[in-house]
Structure formats: C-alpha cells, structure tokens
C-alpha cells in the first residue's frame, strides 16, 4: 500500500465520495423525507411487474446477443489465423466509444429506410437486445480475450496430447475462461438495465424509460428516484456474484503472455470467420455510420457544421479533456487501492464504483443540481467544473476498474523491491509504478474522453448558462429537422472521439516491438 501514500488515497476516496456518492445520497435522503406514500410506489401492481419483466427480458436478450457475438469474436481474433486480425481487434473495440444516442440516430434512420419502422418483431425486447448486444459485445470480447490469455498453455498442451484441438478448446480452454466471460456478461447486463436511449427508441417500457416518464411527464423526482432503487439493488447483488465468480482467479496473465498460445487453424473456415467479424463490425458501427455519412451529403455540410458549431466543438473538447484528466488523476490511486488493499477496502470501492452504472443520467443530473447549486459552491455550479464533476460521477467507475485491472497484473515483488531500495515515494511512483501502469491509465483516459464527449443526459441539466456542448447542439438541431446538419455534426463528433483512439492505436503498433521486448505491456 505504501506505493501511493495513504493520505493521497484517502484524499481521492473523499473526493470520490463527495463527487460521486454525495449527490446520490442527498437526493435519496430528500426523497425519503419528502415522500409520504412510499408504499404506493412499491406496491406490486401489474405495471410494476411488466416493467420488471421488460427490464429483465431486455437484460437477458442483450446478454445473449452480446455473448453470441463477443465470445466468438474474442476467440476468433485471439486464437485463430483469421485474416485482417489487426483491423478486427481495432474495429471490435470501437463500439465501446460510440455515444449511444448517435448509434440510436443511425439505427432509427436505418430502420425507417428498411421499412422496419414500427415492425412488431423489431420494436420489442428482441430488437432492444439486438441493438444493445451490438453496442455492448466489446465488453464480452475484451473479457474473453483476458480469460483466454490467462489460461496456462501447459494445461492445453497436456490435453492436446490426447485429444484434438477442437476438443481441447471446448473442454479445457473455454471452461477455464468462463469466469471471465461470465463477469463480462454481468457488466453487460447492468449496462443494458440502465440504458434509456434504445428501449425508448424501440418503445419497450423498462425502468429507465419509466424513470424518464416520471421526470419529464409528471415532474416527480421522488418517484423517479424510488424507481431507480430496483436497478441499484440488482446491480449491487451482481457485484457479489461477480466477486464470487472471480474469487481465487488472479487477473495475472504474465506467465501465459510470453508463451506461445495454442492457435487454431481455420483452414476453409477462414473466409466464414472473416465474414462473421466483418458482419459484426458493419452492424455495430459501419451501417449506422454509413447512414449518417450519406445523410450528411457533401463536404459543404461539414464546412457549415464546423463554422456554426465551432464554439460547441471547442467546449466539448475542453470539457472532455479536463474531465478525462481529472478522472484519471483520482481514479489512479483508487484503482491502485482496489488492486492492492485489504478485502474490506476492496469490497467498499467495488460496491461504490458499481452504483453509478445503475443510475440513469437524468437522476444524476438532478442530484448534481441539488448538491452543487448552493451559494457556497457557486464557483463550481456556475462554471464548467460542475460538468467535470458530473462526468467524474458518471464515468470514474470505468477508469477505476480499468486501472485496477491493469495494476493487479503488476507483480507486487516489483513494488516491494523498489520499496526496499528507495526512500522517496514520489521517485518510486514515477520510475516504477507509473511506467508499469500507464497502459491502463492511457486506456482509461481515452475511454473517459470518449464517454465525456458523447455525454448528454447530465450535461443538459447542469451546463452553465451560455455554454453548450456538441451533443447538445446536435439534439437542439434535431427537432427542427435540420437533417443534414445533424448527420454532419454526428459524424464530426464520432471523428473527434475516434481521433485519440486512432493515435493510441498507431503509437501502439509503432512501438509494439520495443514495448514487448522490455515487457512494459
């Protein structure tokens, strides 16, 4: 623990509690003190049951689609001789960074073009599961990759002496990786439960949709908050399931990494596998983007879009840059503590950092207003700091988890030997921990930057008067029917989000050999 001094960890924990949990606890307290008919809300009427049923169906169907796509995709790109492997690794990650509402715009237009508007089959939990599955399969893919990498190749080789490779994969490799895949499935389940945009678009009534209705049709904050509680409860329950699954599983895959992994020759299946990955790519990312690009028309649209929306683009860049940096600054010590601390601290951070996943953005927004809009914190509420805090509240959980996963792969001995040799913690931090942990920090930064760029729900409620961001601009234009401009700005937003990812990807490819040789990754 002494790699980052306790005071710094405690400071970050306090910041986390104030920024992330403070607003939520406040609004919860306000809800319970203001409501006198609590029982009425909790009463199990047919509507509640149908809400619960819909939410669960959406969750389950999303997980099924995501598993179907993610496990296959992850296996193909890590353990086979699939063509265009590098491209598919990259393209498989992209849906992680796409703002949900942008893909939703693309999908609505796509459905309308294909004549599926209002189609009963698609406008149901199946359709929602399909679209969300396409958006969330990268989580499953990533965890499948980690799981597959963590399998000791000796175990596979031992089995391969007796059985065919196909049999080995089915009986040894996948079962050994299954805990990772299951924990990915849990994440996807939670995300799909709290997603608003897609169920709303396909008109399936889930908890987030109902919460939204309570907010904007009935202006009943208390009821909306109460309705979010089942989501939080499910979410917290799943933390324990996940911990049970991952107990005794170290994330450490250092040993397996350097060794040759067992590869599966596809032979004639090569083309089919390539087509599968290409299909997943085009459905998850390609088609919606294509629709937007076609919708935007010629280059003149982009010129107009840039000219008219430059202040918003600049704001979005600034806010996202500052927010992503701030999130990484406080998430690094917390991620470190999550990876290294004792059981109780770990459970606490684990639970705290899961809650934000389950809270719909509108509740976050109102909670942020209630918490920060007071005379003593004018400096925060009236400046873009409130956005920085809002984004931190929503997204720091991602960063904490990514950084902690990365740090838990660094062997403790490396820290301890430095601890004996060097008195200055800052020197140890700079020369040992940071160089070893930077891939996780960088990945978190890029992810948070992308998420902040696309954030709409909280931004809309707390943005200081006189400012606007790019997603807000896109949505204000949408009503008016400025179809071309909406498409053009959406494309610009996606490009801005893709830029840092592309840079990181290119840098990674350029320096991969150096990095691999000195073992930094």
């Amino acid at each position: 623990m002494s790699f980052i001094p306790k005071p710094i960890i405690i400071l970050c924990a306090i910041l986390f509690i104030i920024i992330v949990l403070g607003p939520l606890l406040l609004i919860l307290a306000e809800t319970f003190t203001s409501m006198d008919n609590l029982a009425q809300v909790f009463l199990l009427n047919s509507r509640q049951i149908s809400l619960f049923k819909n939410s669960m169906l959406v969750g389950v169907s999303t997980v099924c689609f995501a598993l179907l796509l993610g496990v296959g995709y992850g296996f193909l790109i890590s353990r086979t001789d699939i063509p265009l492997q590098k491209f598919f690794i990259f393209s498989g990650l992209i849906p992680l960074f796409m703002p949900a509402h942008i893909t939703a715009i693309g999908w609505i237009k796509l459905l309308n073009i294909c004549g599926f508007a209002g189609n009963i089959f698609f406008y149901s939990w199946i359709g929602v599961g399909f679209v969300l599955g396409l958006a969330y399969f990268p989580f499953i893919m990533l965890l499948t990759l980690t799981g597959l990498n963590s399998v000791d190749s000796k175990l596979e080789e031992a089995a391969a002496l007796i059985h065919s490779k196909r049999h080995v994969i089915r009986k040894i490799t996948l079962p050994l990786a299954s805990a990772y895949i299951a924990s990915g499935a849990i994440l996807v389940f939670v995300f799909s439960l709290s997603n608003y945009a897609v169920p709303d678009m396909l008109r399936v009534n889930t908890y987030p949709v109902e919460i939204f209705v309570q907010f904007s049709a009935f202006y009943d904050t208390a009821k909306a908050v109460i309705l979010a509680l089942p989501l939080v409860a499910v979410c917290l329950l799943l933390v324990f399931v996940q911990r049970y699954l991952m107990a005794n599983k170290s994330y450490i895959s250092l040993k397996a990494r350097n060794k040759q992994k067992m590869l599966f020759k596809l032979g004639k299946g090569k083309i089919a596998a390539g087509l599968f990955c290409a299909l997943v790519f085009s459905l998850s990312m390609g088609l919606p983007m294509l629709i937007l690009i076609i919708g935007a028309g010629n280059l003149a649209t982009y010129a107009i879009a840039f000219k008219t929306a430059w202040p918003q683009i600049r704001n979005s860049l600034l806010f996202s840059f500052v927010s992503a940096t701030f999130i990484c600054l406080i998430s690094f010590p917390l991620g470190y503590a999550l990876a290294r601390a004792g059981k109780k601290t770990r459970l606490f951070i684990d639970l705290c950092s899961m809650i934000p996943f389950a809270i719909p953005s509108a509740i976050f927004g109102v909670a942020m207003i209630r918490f920060w809009n007071r005379p003593s914190t004018t400096i925060i509420y009236h400046t873009f700091l409130v956005l920085v805090f809002g984004y931190t509240a929503r997204f720091s959980a991602f960063a904490i988890r990514a950084i902690s996963a990365n740090i838990s792969q660094i062997h403790r001995n490396l820290e301890e030997s430095a601890e004996l040799a060097c008195q200055s913690w800052s020197k140890r931090l700079r020369f040992i921990l940071l160089p070893l942990a930077w891939p996780g920090i960088l990945a978190s930064w890029v992810l948070c930057f992308a998420l902040c760029m696309g954030e709409l729900g909280v931004t809309l409620l707390v943005i200081p008067a006189g400012e606007a961001t790019l997603p807000i601009r896109i949505y204000t234009l949408m009503h008016y029917g400025a179809h071309k401009l909406v498409c053009g700005l959406s494309v610009i937003l996606v490009l801005i989000i893709m830029l840092p990812i592309l840079i990181v990807y290119l840098l990674y490819n350029k320096y991969k050999h150096k990095l691999l040789s000195n073992g930094a990754i």
């Binding site: 509507r47 149908s50 309308n112 508007a117 209002g118 709303d200 678009m201 008109r203 009534n205 939204f212 209705v213 907010f215 904007s216 049709a217 009935f218 202006y219 904050t221 509108a362 927004g365 109102v366 207003i369 209630r370 809009n373 007071r374 005379p375 004018t378 400096i379 509420y381 009236h382 400046t383 700091l385 200055s424 800052s426 020197k427 700079r430 709409l456 729900g457 809309l460 409620l461 707390v462 943005i463 200081p464 008067a465 006189g466 606007a468 807000i472 949505y475 204000t476 234009l477 949408m478 009503h479 008016y480 029917g481 400025a482």
Partner: protein, 338 residues
C-alpha cells in the same frame, strides 16, 4: 518532486482564481428557453445589441428526448440561477407557478394580449402561438375525404393510418389534457379508447409524426403548425388542416414567458421579458420557419400564417388544462403505453 508539486498547486490555484472571471460579467441576464435555438437565438442577439445586456442562455432539446429545463428549474428552486424562462408552450409554465418557482410580473407590453393567454396575476404571459393541426399526405388523402375534425379519425377507414406522438410529452400531452377539459372525462376517455381501438400509431414526437406522413407510411398525423410548416415550406407533398374549425375549435398553444422567483438579475429580467413580449418578436416568429401565430392584431405576418380572428380557437382555461395533465397522462399511459 517538490518543485513539481508546487508547480501543480500553482497551476490549480491560477485555474481556480480565474474561474470567477469566467462565471460573471457586468450586466447580464440568464435565460432558459425551450423554444428551438434556431428561432430564439436571433431574437436574443437583437436584444443584446439593443440593450448591451449579455444574455446567457440554456437551450432545451426536443421535448420528448430530454428531462429538460423544467426539471432543472424545479431542482434549482432553493438557489435560482435563471432570471427568465421562455417556454415554447404553456402547461409547464403553470406547473412551475404551482410549484412556487415563478414570480409575478405584469408587463406593459402584454396589455392587448387576449386574457385567455395570460395569467391575471402575471406569473406567466403568453404570446405567439402554435396550433395543434392534422398533417396529411396529399397522395394518400384526397380533398373530399379530408378529416375536418379530430373525431373523424375514429372511423374505420383511418385504422392504422394516423400518427400520434407520445401523449405524455410536449404539446401532445397538453392537447390531450385540453380534450379532457373540453369534453369532460367520460367523453374524452371514450374518444381516446376509440382511437386506440382504431389502432392509431404511436410515434416518439411531433416531428416523427410529420416525417412518417411525409414518407407516405401514414396518411394523417397529429402535429404542431411549426413541425408541419417545415415540411410544407420544403415543398413536400403534404398539407395541414386546422381541425374542428366548426365546433370544438382548434387548440392554440402559446409561447409563455415567466419571471423566476428570487431571480439574481430582476431588473434585466424584466427588460428581457418586455422585449420578448413586444410586437417585434411576435412578428419575427411569424416570419420565421416556425410560423408562430401572433395573438395580437396588426402584427405583420406572412399570408400563410392564419389570422387569430379567423381561427375558431378552442375556448379552455389553461390552468384547468395544466391541472388535468397528470390525470390524463396516467389514463393515456395505461391505454397506449403498456
């Protein structure tokens, strides 16, 4: 490392000390507006030029997609930041009045606005209105069979051919509540039940209602004049009807402007409200592509914008309508959104 820390703290200090500059300027007023930015922005810029007062604006996005400014105003009640709320409709302004968020201000500019469209205590003042209309596709619906009344739409020939936006949100919600008030609960419920039985198509918003009719998927759609006019002015093969010109009347939904209680800049706020309520603004909104209908005579307007006098306007009390919103909303949720 110590140097680095000092540098870091130095930067943080500078950054924080600069923030108040960013937050405040001399003469300013904070406006929350739900009217589309594309229409409100030019008017606000004119005001800034004429008075030299800086207007800081928060725009709302499409009503059905966001929780919007009303929730923000409610949440900010204890420590208001906004001075003026310019609502593009009326029901939520009344809701804000009920929640004790508005202050009373009777603008001299509002003298000749019909009393149906303003609060006699001055908590809200209406101007430039939109009408609830039916948009129809000219290929699919020929002149003789045009629905002249919204009650025609329960006929079997319109089965699965009519679009209605989500009745919980926006002007559609107001329209439904208005029907509950005008017809009485029983008749209104029967009417909506008939629409549901006739398999009316639920869409997400008034603009989608319009788009589905423009695309020829549906024949007729409930929508607002501004949404319909966007398509008509672009030369799309659609037109609109002001329904029930004889009988119940067409529902007009005015913009409303309100002063926020404990507004931080009350003087500038009143100046801004006076400006927004001026004839100039009604005129500009009439000429804009949102074709808002002026509520006062002698405001210049293009020919395609109907005369207020020529319309048969649904005669209802907006406060009653606003108080009906929850009840009608709950009924319609059960009926249309299972």
């Amino acid at each position: 490392m110590k140097k680095l820390l000092i540098l870091l703290f130095g930067c943080a200090y500078l950054f924080i000390s600069c923030l108040p500059l960013y937050a405040q300027s001399k003469k300013q007023v904070v406006l929350y507006t739900a009217l589309d930015q594309i229409f409100s922005e030019p008017i606000i810029q004119d005001f800034e030029q004429e008075t030299g007062i800086k207007v800081k604006v928060v725009y709302d996005t499409e009503a059905a997609k966001t929780t919007g400014l009303v929730n923000r105003l409610i949440a900010e009640k204890d420590n208001p930041n906004a001075d003026v709320f310019w609502n593009n409709e009326i029901a939520r302004s009344i809701l804000l009045k009920d929640k004790g968020i508005l202050a009373s201000y009777i603008s001299a500019q509002a003298k000749d606005i019909p009393s149906q469209f303003k609060d006699n205590q001055g908590f809200w003042t209406g101007f430039a209105a939109r009408a609830r209309v039916l948009i129809y596709n000219k290929d699919l619906v020929k002149d003789p069979e045009l629905p002249r009344s919204i009650f025609d739409l329960t006929a079997p020939k319109w089965s699965k051919k009519v679009a209605l936006a989500n009745p919980l949100f926006g002007t559609t919600a107001t329209h439904c509540a208005a029907l509950f008030v005008a017809l009485g609960d029983e008749k209104a419920k029967a009417y909506f039940q008939a629409l549901a039985d006739n398999q009316i198509v639920m869409v997400s918003g008034n603009s989608e209602s319009r788009d589905r009719v423009v695309d020829g998927e549906l024949a007729v759609g409930f929508t607002d004049t501004d949404d319909a006019w966007v398509a008509i002015s672009e030369g799309k093969n659609v037109n609109m009807i002001y329904p029930d010109n004889r009988g119940l009347g067409t529902l007009l939904i005015p913009n409303t402007v309100c002063l926020i209680k404990n507004a931080p800049h009350p003087e500038q706020a009143k100046q801004l409200i006076d400006y927004i309520l001026s004839r100039k603004v009604e005129e500009k909104l009439a000429f804009s592509s949102s074709m808002q209908i002026p509520l006062r005579k002698e405001v210049k307007k293009p020919d395609y914008v109907p005369d207020y006098d020529a319309l048969s306007v649904m005669d209802i009390d907006f406060e009653t309508v606003a108080h009906k919103l929850n009840q009608s909303g709950e009924f319609l949720t059960g009926l249309f959104l299972r």
